[in-house]
């Protein structure tokens, strides 16, 4: 099979909204928006993707002034990318319906944009905007619960503000962006092979997903061919990552309803999967096996062992859903409707649990996996997200077995293109990387879009009307990355 090459159009700011509307009407979604700093201003790259058949389109918009017409009215994710770019580069989205800050916390100095090349070291943080205001919710008996960013468990930092009446959540404001690392900037100027280690560490639990998306993007940019065996090994690694993370989540969901035995069992399955990972790659979290232009696994996983683990997981899932209290806690909790999931542009198991038929393994394949069941549930509740994970575990084990016996062919158009895109269905959802190389072959710009960036806004929407003690359970059912969201 052959990679699809993007349609690239250089347009002016005035044409942007019209072109974007046309692409969205053709079934595209906004996969990422990247800001490039050029000598004479900015260049914004809007990447659109569409499935069945796989299509890509890039709109390049040159700006001499730091302002661009907003696409927020057309696409919710585009509006979020615009706010991110405004906070990091100072490019104002004009007529944005929700122009509040996204990345920039209140103590960041005004007018300091960290991603600009001349930003320099961070100036001393002060209190230029005053304290972060609680969103006002008025009414009898409404009170507020602030939680985090430092939590009692070993989890990433997020600050949540609940407006509650009784125990019912009226409004949740998730304040993230505590872990801004300037990661995309760290890529700039490196040689592509030196960027791989960074890509593996975008989000600790998604090393394969991000490393693979990065490699695919660089390979497209440099015109590097990859042999079919390596592509197959990459697909196996991707499924192994999905397996151990999904098993962890199933256990954690059981633990959040205080069913500790099921969690303990998931823990043992996870440990055995991690040992399989160590045998396959030499690293329990699968690092180091994917490299530019190929993959170097030490061995392929033992299918019989994986099948046995799959049976065990199926048994655990059966026990969990057969338990009256557990299934009562899961069923109908925090429903994300299909309409909301589609409008917000959600990805991965969150989207599939709300009935959206999206899976980049089928929609944007880097290897032909053949027909496989895309796990779709229509409930949109915690139960559906639990079941989608359970279904995907079974499907992944089937795929790994099939990959051991198939031979795929894969070809890329030769020749250096200078820019490339990698699309991978990581365990959380669709990961997109876009790289541009400079004249000297070094990385000029890397833009990373983790599925968490798309899925975070869905959490408060799903929680409307849920009760406070269910929040940890719901949050775990989404299990979004903070590090992948805030780069």
């Amino acid at each position: 099979m052959t990679a699809t090459l993007p349609l690239v159009a250089e347009i002016g700011p005035g044409e942007l909204a019209g072109c974007a509307a046309e692409l969205l009407a053709l079934g595209h979604r906004v996969a990422l928006v990247a800001a490039h700093v050029e000598d004479d201003g900015f260049r914004l790259v809007y990447l659109f993707t569409a499935a069945r058949p796989a299509r890509r389109a890039e709109l390049h918009v040159r700006l001499t002034e730091p302002a661009v017409p907003s696409l927020a009215a057309l696409s919710f994710p585009a509006g979020r990318f615009e706010r991110e770019i405004r906070d990091l580069y100072g490019i104002t989205p004009e007529d944005h319906p929700l122009p509040s800050r996204l990345v920039r916390h209140h103590h960041w100095p005004r007018g300091w944009y960290p991603m600009l090349p001349d930003a320099g070291p961070p100036p001393s943080f002060g209190d230029p905007e005053g304290p972060y205001p609680f969103g006002d919710v008025e009414g009898d008996g409404v009170y507020e619960i602030p939680v985090g960013p430092v939590h009692a468990g070993c989890i990433e930092p997020g600050h949540f503000r609940f407006s509650v009446v009784g125990e019912t959540i009226l409004k949740l404001k998730a304040r993230l962006w505590f872990v801004h690392k300037g990661l995309e900037q760290l890529f700039e100027g490196r040689r592509p092979e030196d960027g791989l280690a960074l890509a593996e560490r975008v989000s600790g639990d998604t090393s394969v997903g991000h490393a693979l998306a990065y490699c695919l993007a660089v390979e497209e940019a440099t015109g590097t061919a990859v042999d079919p065996d390596s592509q197959r090994a990459r697909a196996v690694l991707l499924e192994l990552e999905r397996l151990y993370n999904h098993v962890t989540d199933l256990g954690a969901l059981c633990n959040d309803v205080a069913h500790s035995v099921l969690q303990a069992h998931c823990g043992t399955v996870r440990e055995r999967l991690l040992r399989v990972n160590a045998e396959v790659t030499g690293h329990r979290l699968l690092r180091g096996a994917i490299r530019l232009g190929g993959a170097e696994p030490l061995a392929l996983p033992d299918n019989a062992r994986l099948a046995a683990l799959g049976t065990e997981v199926a048994e655990i899932v059966g026990l969990a859903l057969g338990h009256g209290v557990v299934s009562d806690r899961f069923t109908g909790t925090a429903v994300l409707t299909e309409r909301a999931a589609a409008d917000l542009g959600t990805l991965g198991y969150v989207a599939r649990a709300s009935g959206l038929d999206v899976d980049a393994r089928r929609d944007h394949p880097f290897i032909d996996l053949g027909p496989f069941p895309v796990a779709i549930r229509s409930g949109g509740d915690v139960l559906a997200r639990f079941q989608v994970r359970a279904d995907e575990i079974a499907a992944s084990i089937g795929l790994i077995e099939r990959l051991a016996h198939t031979s795929g062919d894969w070809s890329l158009p030769d020749g250096r293109r200078g820019s490339g895109v990698g699309i991978v269905e990581g365990w959380r959802g669709t990961i997109v990387h876009r790289v541009e190389l400079g004249e000297d072959g070094r990385l000029a710009k890397v833009k990373i879009a983790d599925p968490s960036f798309f899925n975070w806004p869905a959490l408060p929407v799903a929680l409307g009307g849920a009760i406070v003690p269910d929040f940890p359970l719901v949050n775990k059912s989404f299990n979004l990355s903070y590090a992948g969201n805030d780069l």
């Binding site: 468990g153 309803v257 035995v261 338990h323 209290v325 806690r329 406070v468 003690p469 940890p472």
Partner: protein
């Protein structure tokens, strides 16, 4: 009676440790050992006392008040011996009131911190308490009708002299009701999860989040004692075999202590083992569970009139 208080005071953390150990083993973990709660208490007791800014005497007073009321209850309830010098004043109503006083003190302490979690935990604890207290009263009241007095010692002595009288609809209904409220009162699964770190789901733990050092040690100790007393009361009412009655000699007392320890440890072990296979109820389902147990206590009272 002094012996009984000492046994409860020293044994309660061991019971907590035993229950944790049972859970750990059933989950395939090694566990920290039965004596771990005592080690934790020693560690906490050595720390300095600190209180959050803006808290007043209520915050300070809650832990001693909780521990104090629990110790008085431990003296008044027939656990090792059915003969208590407090018999004249400490009947069923006094015991239930003392338990409630301790809970209310802790809830006020939680509210005094002014944090969202303290208030949230206190509100949830009061919701549970409002359903637990009447159930305890009614369940034991149903048993007292047969004896004609609300004096707990007399009820237990009467049951000990005729053990077969336990097998009656009244006793069974009361036993189930009391078992459910014992679990709720001591903040265990499926009502509350004592081992969670998820602050938003907590009931009991949310109230005491701001406590540290010796204050926390006092609360942990008192909580373990409350669980012991509740389990002890349960065994005393329904399986009083071995309990010492008035005028028992030292050997009888020793036998009674051993019997009490065995019974409570067994019951605690069963409770912990049962917890392993249970999940926590949605908070809004907890009142349904407790209302059910209240209904059973009410039926026990009604049955005791009709069947008497």
């Amino acid at each position: 009676m002094v012996l009984q208080v000492l046994v409860v005071a020293a044994g309660a953390p061991l019971l907590a440790g035993l229950m944790r150990q049972v859970r750990a083993r059933l989950e395939g973990r090694a566990g920290a050992g039965v004596r771990q709660p005592w080690r934790d208490l020693r560690k906490l007791a050595r720390k300095e006392r600190i209180a959050p800014h803006g808290t007043g005497y209520l915050f300070r007073a809650a832990p001693p008040l909780l521990a104090g009321t629990t110790l008085v209850v431990a003296a008044a309830v027939p656990l090792v011996t059915a003969a208590s010098p407090l018999d004249g004043v400490a009947d069923l109503f006094a015991v239930a009131a003392l338990l409630a006083l301790g809970s209310v003190a802790l809830a006020l302490g939680g509210l005094d911190t002014g944090t969202a979690f303290g208030g949230m935990g206190a509100s949830r604890e009061m919701t549970v308490l409002a359903l637990v207290e009447p159930t305890i009263l009614l369940a034991v009241f149903a048993l007292s009708i047969r004896v004609g007095t609300t004096d707990l010692g007399a009820i237990v002595t009467e049951t000990a002299s005729s053990p077969l009288s336990v097998i009656s609809p009244v006793s069974l209904l009361a036993a189930v009701a009391l078992a459910v409220v014992t679990i709720a009162e001591s903040g265990r699964i499926p009502v509350d999860n004592p081992s969670t770190h998820l602050e938003l789901t907590m009931i009991h733990e949310a109230m005491i989040l701001e406590y540290a050092g010796p204050d926390l040690a006092l609360i942990e100790w008192a909580s373990a004692m409350r669980l012991t007393v509740m389990l002890g009361l349960f065994t005393g009412l329904f399986a009083p075999a071995g309990i010492a009655t008035a005028g028992a000699g030292p050997i009888m007392l020793l036998v009674a202590v051993v019997a009490f320890a065995l019974k409570v440890a067994l019951l605690g072990g069963v409770l912990a083992a049962g917890e392993v296979f249970m999940a926590k109820l949605r908070l809004f389902r907890v009142p349904e569970l407790l209302a059910g147990s209240f209904l059973m206590a009410l039926l026990a009272v009604a049955a005791s009139f009709f069947l008497a």
